[in-house]
């Protein structure tokens, strides 16, 4: 490890706010909130200042640093300023020295209640049967304001629920137009799927022309789902199908958990963010009735070996440089939509969970003597894009889909609740072997920088035959939007870069396009990597914590701790990985692994669902529809009819 060069200012600043919380020395100001003189940083909003000193102001549309627009008008406060007649939205009103604020005057409480009542008057209130029941910000706010009946009633929209894609369901009838989805999609991810359509009461926040997400360049990352305060955006559930498989005596159901699940599932059961519940997770899955409980971390190790060899191959002149990682399906879809020219740089490795599925139905089935047709592979993933990935037609071996069902962390938590499994009281159990063993490197896949770090650890070994001094790589971790470093691989220095959040990815890819010489680049679609994935527990409302993205740090730190605690810390040291090469695969990039563990990519265009003069998609290359068929003939149009 030699000289490291880190991101110069501008790029990090672009979205750096989101990931970094630098402790800067800021000027302090004093203001009066509810009769208390309090201190706040200069430049803070009244809401931040109040929350900073423990005064809670309810809010709905506010998402710190991402959506600060003052739209929902729930965080209204009274400010004593000359000429201020109306109430002010505290999330956007600057806290200034000497300002006098009342956050809970009778007038404020009355108007705030009216605002939430108005939102509820156009919200399909099916709380008891809603997927976000007990974890809904709107519900919580209504409850804390003591709304017992809704005075303002009237026409209620009844628009068609859009669920034609395999990953995200859009229910317009539960949308409160807070626009957090729009903000996170356009400002953080820079995909710009959502925007406001129509005016007045007919306003909807939707993809262009209210198309289904499968018809637009959505990367399925699910950040909008995490941002949504209600159940207007949710993952497409497939719990019932998994139950069905579990209940079928003919099926052999194998489950795999992604590395990050062990540090996030606990949150659903009241553990603080960043608690590793690995043992309980294994126990819980066994209680649900899965026949084998495996870890995707195992195939992560495998993927590291494949990818490290691929890197060395490309460094040796065969194939295009830089090598771009391919384990994040959101990022892969992003590249297919927006950077089709980079597809050749993408590693041909399938993502670890697909590798896992392929090996389960071949290697494992053969080893255990089970008919692969009877095997059902369920993947517990932090991700909605994995649902899309599993549905890709190329992700299969022979007649079998690699992975049959993908459950998000949230869905798993729901299953556990449905089965009344007392998560807190579960014993710590071990994963099954052989495909449950993982090195620390495999665990690192769960957060940004992990894939690259794991691959570099192995590549270093492969080149030099020596083990690398591990702590040296810590600089590749951390939540800067973009990280760069020079890594010594024996006689050669390779330039590596890491981006997470597709907004940052764009910056990096544009630099690649302009010809900057990178050798190895890791990109994760979600801010923070899988720990911030779109399928992770939705933080903030169940315990009414401040809505921000900071919890991702805690989760990532937990993964780092697991890595540090492991005896095995390099993928190539994983004995079961070594075994599988010996018994089944032969060598990395060998013929068997080429067949089972590698894939190809398809340019999708920026407007996949739109037809221009008979040619589908945009001008950017041929577009193939890889998602399940749906009615393309008539554009899906929501029907507007009053709800009875």
């Amino acid at each position: 490890m030699g000289k490291r060069e880190y991101m110069p200012g501008p790029v990090v600043r672009k979205t750096g706010q989101l990931y970094d919380n630098p402790k800067k020395d800021v000027e302090k100001i004093r203001l009066t909130i509810d009769g208390r003189e309090v201190e706040a940083d200069k430049g803070m909003s009244v809401l931040e200042a109040a929350r900073g000193v423990g005064i809670e102001i309810p809010s709905l549309c506010y998402l710190r640093h991402i959506n600060e627009t003052g739209s929902c008008r729930v965080c209204l406060v009274e400010v004593e300023v000359k000429g201020a007649r109306t109430l002010q939205a505290s999330c956007v009103y600057p806290a200034t020295a000497g300002l006098v604020v009342h956050t809970s005057s009778p007038r404020v409480r009355r108007v705030r209640k009216t605002m939430v009542e108005l939102l509820l008057s156009d919200h399909h209130r099916e709380c008891t049967t809603c997927i976000r029941n007990l974890n809904c910000e709107l519900q919580n706010t209504a409850d804390s304001l003591g709304i017992r009946n809704i005075k303002w009633t009237g026409e209620m929209k009844a628009l068609q629920v859009q669920n034609e894609n395999p990953y995200i369901v859009r229910d317009y009838n539960k949308c409160i137009k807070c626009r957090r989805c729009e903000a996170i999609c356009s400002k953080v991810q820079e995909i710009n799927v959502y925007s406001a359509i129509n005016r007045n009461y007919d306003t909807v926040i939707a993809p262009a022309f209210m198309q289904d997400l499968s018809q637009v360049a959505c990367i399925a990352c699910g950040q909008c789902v995490i941002a949504c305060p209600t159940a207007s955006l949710t993952e497409k559930e497939c719990i019932d199908s998994v139950w069905e498989a579990l209940e079928d005596p003919d099926k052999y159901v194998v489950v795999q958990t992604a590395p990050s699940i062990q540090v996030t599932l606990g949150e659903e059961f009241g553990f603080p963010a960043g608690t590793a519940v690995t043992g309980k997770l294994a126990a819980a899955l066994r209680r649900l009735g899965f026949d084998k409980v495996f870890a995707t971390d195992f195939t992560a190790d495998l993927a590291v070996l494949e990818e490290a060899h691929e890197l060395l191959e490309r460094l040796g002149g065969r194939g295009k440089l830089p090598l771009l990682t391919s384990c994040c399906p959101g990022w892969v879809k992003f590249a297919e939509h927006f950077y089709p020219d980079c597809l050749e740089n993408l590693s041909t490795c399938k993502s670890p969970h697909e590798m896992f599925g392929a090996l389960t139905k071949t290697y494992f089935a053969g080893k255990e003597g089970i008919d692969p047709e009877k095997i059902v592979v369920v993947a517990i993933m932090p991700c909605t894009a994995k649902k899309f990935e599993a549905a890709r037609p190329e992700m299969g071996t022979g007649d079998f889909k690699d992975v049959d069902w993908v459950l998000t962390t949230r869905e798993l938590a729901r299953m556990l609740r449905q089965a009344d499994i007392p998560f807190h009281d579960l014993p710590e159990e071990e994963y099954n072997t052989p495909m449950g063993t993982a090195s620390g490197a495999g665990v690192l896949f769960g957060s940004t920088g992990g894939v690259l770090e794991a691959a570099v650890r192995t590549a270093y070994y492969l080149v030099s035959g020596q083990e690398v001094d591990l702590p040296d790589y810590e600089e590749l971790r951390g939540f800067s939007g973009l990280k760069e470093a020079d890594v010594h691989l024996k006689d050669r220095i390779i330039k590596v870069a890491i981006a997470h959040g597709t907004g940052n990815a764009r910056v990096l890819l544009d630099r690649l396009r302009s010809g900057e010489p990178f050798d190895f680049v890791e990109i994760m679609a979600c801010p923070g990597g899988c720990v911030g994935g779109g399928g992770q527990p939705i933080y903030g409302s169940r315990w009414r914590k401040e809505i921000s993205l900071d919890y991702r740090h805690n989760r990532a730190d937990a993964l780092d701790r697991i890595d540090a605690s492991k005896a095995l810390r390099r993928s190539h040291e994983n004995p079961d990985v070594q075994k599988i090469y010996k018994e089944f695969l032969g060598s990395p990039l060998g013929e068997v692994s080429r067949n089972l563990l590698h894939t190809y990519y398809t340019p999708r265009g920026k407007l996949p669902g739109f037809h221009f003069g008979g040619i589908k998609g945009s001008h950017e290359g041929h577009v193939e529809e890889n998602i399940p068929p749906h009615d393309n003939q008539s554009m899906p149009r929501p029907e507007i009819a009053p709800k009875v």
Partner: protein, 650 residues
């Protein structure tokens, strides 16, 4: 020729001055008859263009083209009597001139040297015809400051504007004054924003000038959206250069080099004139690089609004200019701090800009002497509704409503009683007759629950239902809500639903309290001015016309006879002669009958259009309050299978 100095514009002024002087009433022996034809939107829609072309042809046919010339000019304001043709010398004011009248007009006036009596304005009460503009009541109480050039100059000629001292203020500012001086003058003049809220203009300029960020921008808000308001349009059509000049001065004062005019695409004539004016100004070196030989550059571009009312809100307008969805954002930061592309931006309304050059030419002392203690200068209003002289007027601040409506506006037609006047458009309120003598300015209007707004004035008489009026305005506000904030998007919808309930006869007494409560909450909570003022029509009508609401709710009766669901048309059996005219007129085929039998109206089918009432020779069809009547009752009305319950909604 590029203008570089005051001498250059003096020369242009001299060249055009004789024409202008004659139009202002000087008998300067010009030897030319000038025929001014109004070419504003209102007159154009009643074929003033055809009149103008016909005049030109007729002059040629008669061989008079050397002795007489036809000019386009801006709005006289007397739109009710358009197309207007004014002939100088003599200032003979002809009204409602049709293309067919042209031949006679030329023959009599130009060839015969006599006034064509038939086309002169006729006073309704005295039946007298008056040839001179001074004798017309409509113009007597007006004082035209902003509209000084409308009807005087040809807006398509920069020279005529210069002859009216145009661009002299700019020259003076650029060559002799520094920017702080100008801002100080504007501040001292007491000019306040004419867009509605009345923010002191000088303060705004000062704030924008104080910003360090570069570049800065100057924006003109010409997105006039109030229903029935058209003063900005008339200024742009009649005097476009005054806006360009004022924007350039503003740019000099705050340190901007680029201006944008955000104008509605529905104002094609205004856009055309502006384009022409900008072209002429650039050609003359009055826009572009190095104005008047100084180092100051300024240019002006266009952005077209697609007609969204909310884009008149300054932050929404700025979003629209940079190509985003027209939605407001919270302030602070104000546009003067963070506007177009995040840069300091000065944004003023058309009418505000139109005051600038006057203040600089005539001095702030003079301007400050006009109007009331808090509101200086004049205000342009557009009169509409139940009023004799609809059109555009300009009066000093502090003029009473009575003067405007009864002296200038000529009162209510048909001898009807005045009920209320609505000012400020959808954001304003309805003012009852007890405030007719109130001198109006920003503060007094606000006090009585309305606002100045952009200056629309809609007069209502006894046949207008105030609940229905409130419903109309709220429908407008709800429809134009951008959909961003909750109170405006959902709140106005709920408010509207309550009003619809009341006008359809389903209202309850508690609805009135709910209306008031929700109105106050929307006002307190909304993000921008549109939402904050949207409940004003409801609150003001509730305040002054509560009895009408109560009549709708308690008695299910619309006193003005407007709310259709509460009406019923019946045939008086005694009077009906069974001629069948009503049945033939009825588009809904709601009237049936047989010879020698009284006809019947089926209330199920009846759309309350009242076409039959107008047609009936015996006045046998009456409008009445809907009553509970059984099937085929005494009055011969078929109540329908659902009885009266279902019929309330049409």
């Amino acid at each position: 020729m590029k203008i570089k100095s005051i001498e250059d514009i003096e020369k242009i002024k001299e060249r055009h001055l004789p024409l202008i002087k004659q139009r202002l009433g000087y008998r300067n022996g010009l030897g030319l008859t000038q025929i001014m034809v109004c070419s504003g939107t209102a007159c154009s829609s009643s074929e003033s263009r055809e009149v103008r072309l016909e005049l030109e042809q007729e002059l040629e046919r008669k061989g008079l083209q050397d002795r007489a010339r036809v000019f386009k000019t801006g709005c006289f304001g007397f739109c009710q009597y358009g197309p207007i043709v004014m002939i100088h010398p003599g200032e003979i004011f002809y009204c409602q001139v049709r293309p067919e009248d042209v031949q006679e007009l030329v023959e009599k006036h130009l060839v015969g040297g006599q006034v064509l009596e038939r086309l002169l304005y006729q006073n309704d009460s005295t039946k007298e015809r008056t040839p001179s503009i001074e004798d017309i009541h409509f113009f007597k109480a007006q004082r035209r400051i902003v509209l000084r050039n409308c009807g005087v100059i040809n807006p398509e000629k920069i020279g005529e504007y210069i002859a009216r001292d145009g661009y002299f203020a700019l020259a003076d500012v650029l060559l002799h004054k520094n920017r702080d001086e100008i801002i100080e003058i504007i501040k001292k003049s007491g000019l306040r924003g004419r867009g509605g809220a009345g923010f002191p203009t000088g303060k705004k300029w000062e704030l924008a000038a104080a910003q360090d960020l570069r570049p800065k921008y100057v924006v003109c808000n010409a997105d006039e959206g109030d229903p029935g308001a058209f003063m900005d349009r008339s200024i742009l059509e009649g005097d476009p250069h005054s806006i360009l000049e004022a924007m350039t001065i503003a740019g000099y004062c705050i340190g901007a080099n680029q201006g944008y005019i955000y104008v509605r695409a529905e104002y094609p004539i205004a856009v055309e004139r502006l384009e022409l004016a900008i072209g002429q100004a650039r050609e003359a070196g009055l826009l572009g690089k190095g104005l008047f030989g100084t180092a100051f550059d300024f240019d002006i571009g266009f952005r077209f609004g697609a007609g969204a009312f909310v884009c008149g809100e300054e932050t929404a307008l700025l979003h629209s200019i940079i190509g985003q969805r027209g939605e407001p954002r919270p302030r602070p930061p104000y546009p003067a701090q963070e506007g177009l592309w995040g840069k300091p931006t000065l944004i003023n309304n058309v009418e505000t800009y139109a005051n600038i050059t006057v203040i600089l030419r005539d001095g702030w002392e003079w301007y400050e002497g006009q109007g009331t203690a808090t509101s200086k200068g004049s205000k342009v209003f557009s009169l509409a509704g139940k009023i004799h002289n609809t059109g555009l007027i300009e009066v000093p601040m502090g003029t009473s409503l009575r003067t405007i409506i009864f002296d200038i506006g000529g009162g209510i037609p048909g001898g009807k009683r005045f009920k209320a006047v609505q000012t400020g458009g959808p954001s304003g309120g309805c003012i009852p007759s007890k405030y007719l003598d109130l001198p109006i300015d920003y503060e007094s209007l606000k006090e009585i629950g309305s606002m100045m707004g952009s200056g629309g004035m809609i007069v209502m008489d006894e046949e207008d239902c105030m609940v229905d009026i409130a419903r109309f305005y709220l429908e407008f506000s709800q429809d134009e809500s951008c959909g961003r904030c909750t109170p405006c998007r959902v709140g106005t919808k709920r408010l509207l639903e309550i009003l619809i309930r009341i006008t359809e006869g389903h209202g309850e007494m508690e609805d009135l309290e709910m209306l008031e409560e929700l109105s106050y909450d929307i006002r307190d909570a909304s993000l921008c001015g549109l939402g904050q003022s949207a409940p004003n029509p409801v609150l003001s009508t509730l305040r002054y016309f509560k009895d009408e609401y109560i009549a709708h709710v308690r008695d299910k009766h619309c006193p003005a006879g407007v709310c259709k669901a509460l009406l019923e048309y019946t045939v008086d059996e005694e009077k009906c002669i069974a001629c069948g005219l009503c049945a033939r007129t009825c588009a809904a085929q709601a009237i049936t009958g047989a010879p020698k039998q009284p006809y019947r109206i089926d209330p199920e089918k009846c759309t309350r259009c009242a076409a039959c009432v107008a047609k009936c020779p015996k006045k046998a069809i009456q409008k009445g309050i809907k009553k509970d009547v059984g099937n085929y009752g005494k009055t011969g009305i078929y109540a329908g299978p659902g009885g009266t319950e279902d019929r309330a909604t049409l």
